[in-house]
C-alpha cells in the first residue's frame, strides 16, 4: 500500500443532480496544494454539478472524493458542506442581500480555526480585487461584475482548503477581464489556495490552470497541461470543442510524413505511431500553414477575418475543404475574397496529431 499524497483525489465518481446523471466515471486529482485546475466544457454539461458535489451541496452517485487524504464524499460518507472548509463562489450573485459588501466579506472570516495571520490578507484581497469603493454598499447597489468580485473576495476571505470558482469572471467587462485574471492568478498563488475553476473560455483556462479538464458528452475527455490539451488533443470531440483547427484526410507515407490530396506532402513528428499506408485524419491548426506568394500551391480565399494581431483567412481547396490560416496583421499586402493565396511548401508541422 502506498500512501496517497494527492491533495484532492476524485476517483470513479458519477456526478448527478436531482437523480439525473450529469458526468460519469470522473477521475482526476490535484497533486499539490496551491495548484489551479480549470474545467472546460459547453454550458449545461455539468461543470457546476461537479463543483457543487465537491462542495458537498449535492450527493454523488458513486465513487469517492478525498480531500487531504480524508474521504469527504462517497456512497456512505457525505460530510456536510459547512464542515468541509471548501468555498464555492457561485456564478450568480449570492451575497447576503441584507448585509453590506464589507459585512459579507467579514462574515467569512469568522470561520472556526482561522488564524490571525491569514486574516491579515483581507486588505490585500480587497485591494487586488479593486472593491475598496463598494465596501459600504449593499449587494443590490452594485453591478454584476462588482458582485462577482465581492463574492470572490468573500470566498477568499474564508481561506478555504479548496476554492471552487464557477465562471468567476463571466460578468466582468472584457476590458477589465485580463487584468483581473492576472490578479486572480497572483492572489491564488500568493495565498497558496488550491482552486478549481469552471469556465467556458478556453483562454482563461489555459492562462489560469496548471491543469485543464475538458468535459464533453458526460465524460471527462482529457485532463492534462494546458499546452498538451491545446497541442495534443486526445479526441475528435476535444478538437471540435476547442474549435482551433480542422481535420483533413491524409495517408501516412513514411516515418515522418503524410500526404493530402490537396496540400501534398506534410512533414513532422508523429505523436503516435501509425503504420505506413494507413488512412488518418490530420489535425491542421491555423498556425501550421505559412503564407508564401511565390509558392505554386495556391488556394482560393473565401473569407478574411481581422482579429487585431492577425488575420484569419479561410481557404478553399480543390476538394472543397475549408482551411483556416493565420497571417500576422503587419503583413503588408492583403488578399481579397476570391483571390488566390499561396501556401509555403513543403509543409512542416512540429508535431503531427492524427486520429
Amino acid at each position: 500500500m502506498t500512501v496517497n499524497k494527492n491533495f484532492l483525489e476524485i476517483k470513479n465518481v458519477n456526478f448527478k443532480i436531482e437523480g439525473n446523471n450529469k458526468v460519469n466515471n470522473v477521475s482526476f486529482s490535484i497533486e499539490k496544494e496551491g495548484d489551479i485546475i480549470c474545467l472546460l466544457g459547453p454550458s449545461g454539461i455539468g461543470k457546476t454539478t461537479i463543483l457543487r458535489s465537491i462542495a458537498g451541496l449535492e450527493k454523488i452517485g458513486s465513487g469517492t472524493i478525498k480531500l487531504k487524504g480524508k474521504t469527504i464524499s462517497s456512497n456512505k460518507i457525505n460530510i456536510e458542506p459547512e464542515d468541509r472548509n471548501i468555498s464555492l463562489s457561485f456564478q450568480e450573485n449570492s451575497l447576503f442581500p441584507h448585509y453590506t459588501v464589507e459585512k459579507n466579506i467579514h462574515l467569512a472570516t469568522e470561520r472556526k480555526n482561522l488564524n490571525k495571520k491569514k486574516k491579515l490578507n483581507l486588505k490585500k484581497i480587497i485591494k487586488l480585487l479593486n472593491i475598496g469603493k463598494i465596501l459600504d454598499k449593499y449587494p443590490h447597489q452594485i453591478s454584476a461584475g462588482e458582485g462577482q468580485r465581492a463574492s470572490l473576495a468573500r470566498s477568499l476571505a474564508s481561506h478555504p482548503d479548496l476554492l471552487l470558482l464557477d465562471e468567476p469572471l463571466s460578468n466582468v467587462d472584457q476590458s477589465f477581464k485580463e487584468e483581473i485574471q492576472v490578479q486572480l492568478k497572483k492572489i491564488l498563488k500568493n495565498l497558496k489556495i488550491t482552486t478549481i475553476i469552471v469556465t467556458h473560455d478556453s483562454y482563461e483556462a489555459f492562462y489560469l490552470g496548471n491543469k485543464c479538464g475538458i468535459i464533453l458528452n458526460k465524460q471527462l475527455k482529457q485532463f492534462d497541461d494546458p499546452y498538451n490539451v491545446y497541442h495534443f488533443p486526445n479526441s475528435v470531440e476535444v478538437v471540435n470543442f476547442l474549435n482551433r483547427g480542422i481535420l483533413i484526410p491524409a495517408k501516412v507515407t513514411g516515418e515522418n510524413s503524410l500526404k493530402n490530396n490537396d496540400l501534398g506532402t506534410i512533414k513532422g513528428n508523429f505523436i503516435k505511431h501509425y503504420p505506413k499506408g494507413s488512412d488518418v485524419k490530420l489535425l491542421l491548426q491555423p498556425e501550421d500553414l505559412e503564407h508564401d506568394d511565390q509558392s505554386n500551391l495556391k488556394l482560393e480565399v473565401v473569407d478574411r477575418k481581422f482579429r487585431g494581431t492577425n488575420f484569419i483567412y479561410t481557404l478553399k481547396t480543390n476538394s472543397n475543404l475549408l482551411i483556416p490560416v493565420f497571417v500576422h496583421s503587419h503583413h503588408i499586402h492583403q488578399h481579397e475574397i476570391d483571390e488566390k493565396f499561396g501556401i509555403k511548401r513543403p509543409i512542416n508541422i512540429d508535431h503531427i496529431v492524427c486520429f
Binding site: R52, A55, G56, L57, E80, P81, E82, N85, I86, S87, L88, F90, E92, N93, S94, L95, F96, P97, H98, L107, A108, E110, R111, K112, S151, R154, S155, S158, P160
Partner: protein, 541 residues
C-alpha cells in the same frame, strides 16, 4: 424515503395532522346517528338553512362586485380630487367586521334610533318611525356583509387594474372602441381572474359569517351549526350541517384556487409594462367620481365608526362599566401568543421545505394551509367533537385524567384552533418572503462554515424581519375581528372586544356593545394603516 425523516418532516406532519382534525371529524360524523332533533329538523329547517345561505350569498356577491369593482375602476383609471386618499381609505372598511356593521345599521334606523333623533333635532317632534326605512333581516345582513367585505374585491381588482398596461388601453382606442365598450370588452375581462378571486373570498366569508347573520336572526347553515351545538348540545347534528357547508366551501375553494392560478398570468412582464396615465376628469365628472368614492367610504367606515362613537359619548356609563384595560390585555395576549406560534411554525415548515426539497413535505404543507377555507364555527365545533371523542375512547381506555379541560374552554384550545384558521396566512407570508432569497445564498452560508441553524438565525431571520412584522400585523387584524371561534372556545370569563360586543348585542344592549365595537374598529384601523401599502400591493408605485 426514511432518510428524510427529521425534525422538519415531523413538525410538518404534526401541523398537517392538527389541520386535518376538523376535516376528518366533520366527514366521519356525517354517518353517525343523531338525536331526534335531526330527524325533525332535517326536513323542515335544512331546506330553509340552505335557501337562506343562498339568498345571502347572491345578494352579497352582487353588491360587493358592484361596489368593489366600481371603486377600483374609478381610483385606478381616473384623476379626481381625493383619489390618492380614497385609494387606501376604502380598505379601512376592513376594520369593521360585519357584525359591528349590523349593530350600527340597526342602531341608526331602529325605532327611536339615531336617525329618529337627528330628524327630531332638525324638524322637531314627529312620527318619523314609520317613514324611516328599516334594514333588518336578510336585507340588513346583505348590506352589512357587503359594506364590510367589498374590500376583498376592491383590493384584488385594483391590483389587477394597476398592473394593466397602458398598451392594453391604447389597443382599445386603436381599435376604435368607445369608452364603455373598452370597459366591458377589455378592462373588466382582463381583470376577471382577480375579481373572481376576490368574490370567492367574499363568498367564503359570507357563508362562514356568524355574527351579523345571527344578530339579524337569519337561519343559515352557519348559525344552524352554532345553534345545534349551543342550543341542542347536539354535536353530531352540528357536524352534519358542517358537512353540507364544507361541500359549498370546497366548490368555492376550488374556484378560487383555479382563478388565482390564472391571475398569475396577469402579473407585469419586464418588457411590455407601461405605467398608465390616469385620465383627468372634467369638473362635473370628477365631482361624480368623488361623490361615489366618498359615499362608499362614508357608508362603509365613517358611518359605523361615528355611530359607535356617538353612542359611546351619549352613554358614558357603559364606557366606565367596561373593563377596557382587561379586554386590551386579553386581546394583546391572544394576538401575541398566536402570532408567535404561527410564525415559528411557519418558519419551521418553510425552512424544512427549503432544506429537504422533499415533494411529500411540500404536499403536506399545501394541505395544511387549507384550514383558512373552513368556517370558524365548523373548526370550533369539530375541534370540540374530536376532543370529546378522543377523551371518551382513548383517554378513558387508558384511565388517564380527562383532557377536556385542557383543550376546551382554555387558551390552549383557542390558540390551537386559531392556528388552524390562520396558518395559511402566516405560512404563505413567510413563503413569499423566502421566495425572494436565492438558494445560493443559503449555500454560500454553508460554504463559509455556517451550520443550518446558524444560517437560519443569522441570514434568514434578519432578512425576513419585515415579512414577519407584516404577517404579525395581518394576523392581529384577523384575530381582533374573529368572533365564532373565540366565542365557542374561550375560557370562562375571558372576553375580547369582539365577544363583549356580541354578548351585549345579543342581549339587545346595543348601546353597551358600542364601546367594545369602537375600540375594535380603532385598533383594527391602526393595524390596517400600518400595512396598507402591502395590502394594496403598491410596491412599484
Amino acid at each position: 424515503m426514511f432518510r428524510n425523516i427529521n425534525i422538519w418532516f415531523i413538525s410538518s406532519f404534526i401541523i398537517s395532522f392538527i389541520v386535518a382534525i376538523p376535516i376528518i371529524t366533520v366527514f366521519s360524523s356525517f354517518f353517525e346517528n343523531t338525536t331526534n332533533y335531526f330527524e325533525i329538523l332535517k326536513n323542515t329547517f335544512l331546506v330553509e338553512y340552505i335557501f337562506n345561505s343562498f339568498v345571502l350569498l347572491f345578494g352579497v356577491l352582487f353588491l360587493t362586485f358592484i361596489i368593489g369593482t366600481g371603486c377600483a375602476y374609478l381610483v385606478s383609471f381616473y384623476n379626481f380630487p381625493g383619489v390618492n386618499f380614497f385609494k387606501w381609505a376604502l380598505i379601512l372598511s376592513f376594520a369593521v367586521p360585519p357584525y359591528i356593521y349590523a349593530y350600527s345599521l340597526t342602531a341608526f334606523f331602529e325605532n327611536y334610533g339615531t336617525a329618529f333623533t337627528i330628524l327630531k333635532n332638525l324638524f322637531g317632534d314627529g312620527e318619523y318611525n314609520k317613514s324611516i326605512p328599516k334594514f333588518d333581516g336578510t336585507i340588513g345582513a346583505i348590506i352589512s356583509l357587503s359594506f364590510s367585505l367589498f374590500s376583498y374585491v376592491y383590493i384584488l381588482a385594483r391590483a389587477s387594474f394597476f398592473y394593466q398596461s397602458q398598451n392594453l388601453i391604447d389597443l382599445g382606442k386603436n381599435l376604435g372602441f368607445s369608452k364603455l365598450r373598452s370597459i366591458f370588452s377589455i378592462i373588466i375581462p382582463s381583470a376577471r381572474p382577480a375579481i373572481v378571486a376576490g368574490l370567492s373570498l367574499v363568498a367564503m366569508e359570507t357563508l362562514s359569517d356568524f355574527g351579523a347573520v345571527s344578530f339579524f336572526g337569519i337561519n343559515t347553515l352557519t348559525t344552524g351549526i352554532y345553534n345545534a351545538w349551543a342550543g341542542f348540545d347536539d354535536l353530531a347534528f352540528a357536524n352534519q350541517l358542517s358537512f353540507y357547508l364544507l361541500i359549498f366551501i370546497l366548490v368555492l375553494f376550488t374556484l378560487e384556487n383555479y382563478s388565482r392560478k390564472k391571475a398569475k398570468y396577469h402579473s407585469p412582464t419586464k418588457g411590455g409594462f407601461k405605467q398608465k396615465e390616469k385620465i383627468k376628469l372634467s369638473k362635473y365628472h370628477s365631482f361624480f367620481a368623488f361623490f361615489i368614492c366618498f359615499f362608499v367610504f362614508f357608508i362603509s367606515f365613517i358611518f359605523p365608526l361615528s355611530q359607535m362613537l356617538y353612542w359611546t359619548i351619549i352613554f358614558p356609563k357603559n364606557f366606565f362599566d367596561l373593563n377596557i384595560y382587561n379586554l386590551l390585555i386579553n386581546t394583546i395576549y391572544l394576538v401575541t401568543l398566536s402570532s408567535v406560534i404561527l410564525i415559528i411554525f411557519s418558519f419551521i415548515s418553510n425552512y424544512g421545505n427549503r432544506v429537504s426539497r422533499s415533494k411529500f413535505l411540500n404536499a403536506l404543507t399545501t394541505f395544511s394551509i387549507s384550514g383558512y377555507a373552513i368556517p370558524g364555527v365548523i373548526l370550533a365545533v369539530a375541534f370540540i367533537t374530536f376532543i370529546s371523542w378522543f377523551n371518551n375512547t382513548v383517554v378513558e381506555y387508558f384511565e388517564f385524567k380527562s383532557i377536556k379541560k385542557i383543550f376546551i374552554g382554555s387558551i390552549l384550545g383557542l390558540v390551537l384552533v386559531y392556528f388552524i384558521r390562520f396558518y395559511s396566512l402566516a405560512c404563505n407570508g413567510i413563503k413569499s418572503g423566502y421566495e425572494k432569497i436565492n438558494r445560493s445564498i443559503d449555500e454560500s452560508a454553508y460554504l463559509i462554515g455556517y451550520s443550518k441553524l446558524k444560517t437560519f438565525l443569522y441570514i434568514h431571520v434578519p432578512y425576513l424581519r419585515n415579512s414577519v412584522l407584516l404577517i404579525g400585523m395581518l394576523i392581529s387584524i384577523e384575530i381582533i375581528r374573529e368572533l365564532p371561534i373565540t366565542l365557542i372556545l374561550r375560557p370562562f370569563n375571558f372576553e375580547t372586544f369582539a365577544t363583549t360586543a356580541y354578548i351585549y348585542a345579543s342581549q339587545d344592549l346595543l348601546e353597551a356593545a358600542a364601546v367594545p365595537s369602537l375600540f375594535l374598529i380603532l385598533i383594527a384601523s391602526f393595524f390596517i394603516l400600518l400595512t396598507s401599502k402591502y395590502i394594496l400591493r403598491d410596491d412599484s408605485e
